[in-house]
């Protein structure tokens, strides 16, 4: 039976607009998986059904792709998904200590979420921000130069309903679902917010310009 009835007309149209970006429909599988996460928070069975139907491939093929990539979740994550970089450089600069401290503070382990579903925790690989180590990502926004203390404060802010502001990102931290929509390629109008570059990005330029 068709999965079409499980989605609104607007949602189906948006999926079609994703497919139209590519010369071949199958290329749309990744943005469509991000799109499903923007609706459902994770890769749901209705999501797999509709993608298979839209792309005219087997559901097993959609599952094979979704399970290959770590950003696609087979279970719901928190509204705020914290990824602590524990690749070598960040780990050594403090990422391991931050990870343990945060897990302890939240009372959960890696890859779990809090009972109220607000926060989940993951340890992530190098996030291309090593000059800001230790790095923490929340919903894939950059939080640079973190300490155990600063991340615990972030958690308090989330629990107080005042999510922290990313170091290099929009003024208001989007939710997991909102940012999944951005990853699916939809404009959220926030590109102009936040700094163009952080201090480390400018380190060489400053010297070249004669600043000490």
């Amino acid at each position: 039976m068709s999965a079409l009835y499980k989605f609104t007309d607007k949602e189906l149209q948006e999926m079609d607009s994703v497919i139209a970006r590519y010369p071949k429909p199958r290329s749309a599988i990744m943005p469509l998986l991000h799109y499903i996460q923007s609706l459902d928070g994770y890769v749901t069975s209705r999501g797999i059904e509709i993608i298979a139907e839209k792309l005219n491939i087997a559901e097993a093929e959609v599952t094979a792709v979704s399970t290959f990539y770590t950003q696609y979740k087979s279970e719901p994550v928190g509204e705020y998904h914290i990824g602590i970089c524990t690749n070598t450089l960040c780990a050594i600069m403090g990422g391991d200590a931050i990870h343990d401290s945060v897990a302890n503070y939240l009372g959960i382990e890696c890859n779990q979420k809090t009972a109220d579903g607000k926060i989940s925790l993951e340890s992530v690989e190098c996030n291309a921000a090593c000059d800001y180590a230790p790095v923490v990502m929340v919903n894939w926004e950059f939080f640079d130069n973190q300490t155990p203390q600063s991340v615990r404060e972030m958690i308090d802010q989330i629990n107080d309903g005042k999510p922290p502001v990313p170091t290099r990102g929009p003024k208001k931290l989007p939710t997991w679902k909102e940012n999944s929509r951005t990853l699916a390629g939809f404009d959220d109008g926030l590109a102009h917010q936040g700094v163009q570059a952080g201090p480390a990005s400018l380190a060489g330029l400053k010297i070249a310009k004669g600043d000490k």
């Binding site: 190098c126 130069n145 404009d187 380190a203």
Partner: protein, 440 residues
């Protein structure tokens, strides 16, 4: 201070609106494109060949030659795919570039596509960087609106569509053929070569895959000329590039300089190794490039210089570690990364990285034996060069190089029966932790 710094890609990053079309146009933005479209496509390919530009994604392959491999007038669609997957540990240049100056990449894409006769280009950007993705989306939209993308660009009859594609967390998708499979909607696993992407790439059509920084370097070359570009750098490593310093250094960050600068020179600008500490080991170009020590401070950081010293320039990701860092721990963590990211396609890598991780765990815990060290080297020998793609070679690089320079430290772990290092000492907040300010 007289410096060898040459900000080109990063020249406007200190201006608030550097990422907008307006901000970019204040700095010669899209001037190179106008010059390029006045030339024949082949002239552009020759110009890039003459410039000596080499790929900035790791391997250093000459960019103009790569473009020249695309069969011309074959009646097929051609594609340009920009590799913005940036996931090699330590590598952190493309993301700040795209956040601060996405238009320089887009201009480069239009010129490169024109040269190789592609009418559809793609940017494959890693998925874990929401704000970078937004900046790219916005810049692409601005570029379409200004008539730099779309139909009949600048009235020259050239058409180009540009699609931004977000990855979803898989290091292997940075390998160019895995990237193409991923972009076609499959699991990202490397393809058998030949055929090379230039003959059968995306959708089995002739395709160029280039790194962000390679393509972003093109507009300046076209605008300022080959002579200007090839005056920078060294004999076989021309031009400017982004060096990224991270780790135990006082002023980590991006340092755009002519190729051939040394770590000693860079460290001097970056305020030296963390105050009160000494350099222990460093990577010249990400974790896949064999590590160096303080004996290598004067190695010219160009393609030839670094390889003559036994490593690779790679992505110019200079990760600096001081004497508080356990080299066995660092190596273990890198190997855990490669094990986690192995795509599973071939046995030596899939099984080998699993075993290497177990052995290194034991060695780090002080439970290894002297025979384990030999066994580990033997295992490395059976993995490197015997696997399907270069991920596996990257996995053994930290092991072989750390064993070469720090064998004693491995043995020390065994003698002590544990790791001799306190992991807190290497953290940036070691002092605060000790005085219980940030409490662990």
């Amino acid at each position: 201070m007289a410096t060898k710094l040459t900000p080109v890609l990063s020249a406007n990053w200190d201006e608030k609106d550097s990422f907008t079309l307006e901000g970019y146009q204040r700095h010669d933005g899209y001037k190179g494109l106008k010059k390029a479209l006045a030339k024949e496509p082949d002239e552009i390919i020759n110009l890039i060949k003459e410039s000596g530009l080499r790929g900035r994604g790791g391997a250093g392959f000459p960019t103009g030659n790569k473009w020249g491999f695309i069969p011309q007038n074959d009646g097929k669609e051609h594609y340009l795919v920009v590799n913005a997957d940036e996931s090699e540990p330590g590598t952190c240049k493309d993301m700040p570039l795209l956040m601060a100056n996405p238009h320089v990449l887009i201009e480069g894409i239009i010129i490169a596509s024109y040269a190789i006769r592609a009418n559809h280009a793609f940017i494959y950007v890693r998925g874990e960087v929401a704000h970078v993705i937004r900046r790219l989306q916005k810049a692409i939209a601005e570029s379409y609106e200004a008539g730099y993308l779309g139909k009949n660009i600048l009235g020259k009859g050239f058409n180009l569509e540009l699609t931004l594609h977000c990855g979803a967390g898989a290091y292997i998708c940075g390998e160019e053929t895995a990237l193409l499979d991923s972009l076609e909607g499959y699991r990202g696993q490397p393809r058998l070569r030949p055929p090379f992407p230039a003959i059968a790439g995306l959708y089995a059509k002739p395709t160029v895959v280039n790194n962000v920084e390679s393509i972003a370097s093109v507009p300046a070359i076209v605008n300022k000329g080959v002579e200007w570009f090839s005056k920078l750098g060294t004999e076989k490593s021309k031009g400017f590039t982004l060096y990224s310093l991270s780790g135990h250094v006082n002023k980590p960050g991006q340092y755009e300089a002519a190729l051939g600068i040394t770590l000693r020179e860079l460290l001097e600008m970056a305020g030296g190794v963390r105050t009160g500490h000494q350099l222990k080991f460093w990577t010249p170009g990400g974790s896949s490039t064999p590590m160096f020590t303080s004996d290598h401070l004067d190695v010219p950081l160009d393609y030839e210089g670094v390889s003559a010293a036994g490593s690779m320039l790679g992505t110019k990701a200079l990760q600096i570690f001081d004497e508080t860092t356990c080299v066995v721990r660092a190596t273990l963590r890198w190997v855990e990364f490669y094990k986690h990211e192995s795509c599973g396609k071939c046995t030596p890598c899939r099984e080998g990285t699993w075993w290497l991780k177990q052995m290194l765990h034991d060695l780090e815990d002080g439970k290894g034996t002297p025979e384990d060290l030999e066994k580990m080297l033997d295992l490395c020998d059976n993995i490197a060069g015997r696997s399907f793609c270069a991920l596996a070679d990257g996995a053994v690089a930290p092991i072989l190089s750390s064993m070469k320079y720090f064998r004693e430290e491995y043995i020390q772990h065994q003698k002590l029966g544990k790791c001799p290092f306190d992991p807190i000492e290497s953290t940036l907040f070691a002092d605060q932790i000790k005085s219980n300010l940030v409490g662990a």
